[in-house]
């Protein structure tokens, strides 16, 4: 269902974009931009910040694309840029301390839980309550991960990237990425073990 363009097709697109082909650059952006935006939203919980990260990431790609020499996969390079921008944002805002259930949107600050999937009135209220509790517990524990743990967890669990690629994107060894993921999953298990 989902997927990035075929490797050969992508290489051709990158070469065309390096030669100044605007359409090719746009196609490259469209191949990845949904995942980039989703990752920024999941990590930053702010539409405004996610938009900034999206914008800055693709502008950096645009400016530096002529220097891209295929030393790594294009996706690895792009996610390295996105991860660094998100890490900067998280560190700048000290999200771990600030983050509650509030979330910024274009129309002001709202409670993030209003965006959780709505349950119907005729569903067993006990199950519904439990489901909400699981959701809030998940958000809570995600908020208590270190920035690097959050990024590694996001990349592995939600973006489906392999640890090797995550390590390359973050500029750390695969083993270091694995340790981060290990710590993140330990925390998730400890927090969610009683609920599921």
């Amino acid at each position: 269902m989902r997927g990035t363009p075929e490797r050969t097709n992508e290489v051709a697109l990158i070469r065309a974009a390096q030669g100044g082909d605007e359409d090719a650059f746009e196609q490259l952006v469209r191949s990845y931009d949904q995942n980039v935006l989703r990752m920024a939203l999941n990590l930053l919980h702010s539409q405004e910040d996610a938009r900034d990260v999206y914008q800055e990431a693709f502008l950096r790609v645009y400016r530096n694309l002529p220097k891209f020499r295929f030393d790594c996969a294009f996706s690895t390079w792009l996610y390295r840029i996105v991860a660094n921008l998100c890490l900067d944002q998280i560190r700048k805002r000290k999200v771990r301390k600030e983050e509650g259930s509030a979330m910024e949107t274009a129309s002001g600050e709202v409670d993030r839980f209003q965006f959780l999937p709505e349950r119907r009135a005729d569903v067993d209220p006990q199950r519904q309550l439990l489901s909400h509790e699981v959701s809030s517990r998940i958000q809570e524990v995600l908020g208590h991960l270190t920035p690097r743990e959050r990024i590694v967890f996001e990349m592995r669990h939600f973006q489906g990237m392999k640890l090797k690629a995550i390590g390359e994107a973050l500029g750390v060894s695969e083993e270091a990425a694995k340790n981060c993921l290990f710590r993140a999953t330990q925390k998730m298990r400890a927090a969610l073990g009683d609920f599921v």
Binding site: R38, L116, M188
Partner: protein
Amino acid sequence: MNCQQVQTNLSLYLYGELEFGEEDALEKHLGSCAFCQQALGREKQWHSALNAERQDVALDLLSQCRQDLKASLAVTKPKRNLFRSWLGRIESFGFSGTRWSSRLALASLLVSIGFLSARWIDRNGLPGGVGLNGTNAMSMLGPTTARIRDIQPASNGVRIILDQVQQQEVTGRVSDDAVRRLLLQAARDPEDPAIRVDSVEMLKNDPGTDVRDALLYSVEHDPNAAVRMKALEGLRQFVGDPETRAGLQWVLEHDENPGVRSEAIDVLAPANQRFTFNPQFADSLQQIAQAQPDDDYVRDRCFQILRAMNASLDIY
């Protein structure tokens, strides 16, 4: 591996990130330890709970981001040395940076300047309104974008291969063949979910079987939940059709998005509908409820309908 080692590695196991030897040892232990099998079940459950938290990107937000980026790109041009860029292109054909290749690059540059001048003259005309070579074919085609695909020496000079994309405007009713063909094609546009949503929106009230097939394709294959939801709306009119019902059942059993599944069950069995016993439908509902044990809404709706049909719930 002992129980503690197995249980601390369950997530890495589910992610497929254990070494071969570790995975082998873990599976051997799991095969003989009911306690760790239960722990694996719990691990899978919290992974599923997390998956349900994953939100699709709102299309309007994505669209805004794309517009912002386009606006920024319009004022941010990369600093490129035009001559070096051309040399880079020539090098990509396999030539190295020798004096000879520099000459070839220069020659290509001159050819492209000539070509672009010709296009400019073709579009704008020469003073006095005379087209190049007395023809004005390009400007008659409307707005056209062109990209040079290949340049080769030829016996009479140079041979240039161009890719041209011509913009056209097509207006008409959805039932018009040309419009319909384009909409059906746009519903499968791999690049742009917004285009897919718009085309499905336009098609969804059309009763044709080609539209039904396109909507079924969208609900079963489109990676974007908003497009799948829109296609489900359109399938309401085809709900009596066995193929549509089979497609909806597939969605209920396999779609990862709870919102899409809720919409699918409402399309398949509207809340205010009266149900008479139908063994095939009952069987489908039982399979769906079994496939989605954690989806409260879908499971409860299946049970409600089964009760309304006086069908058995006991197979679970």
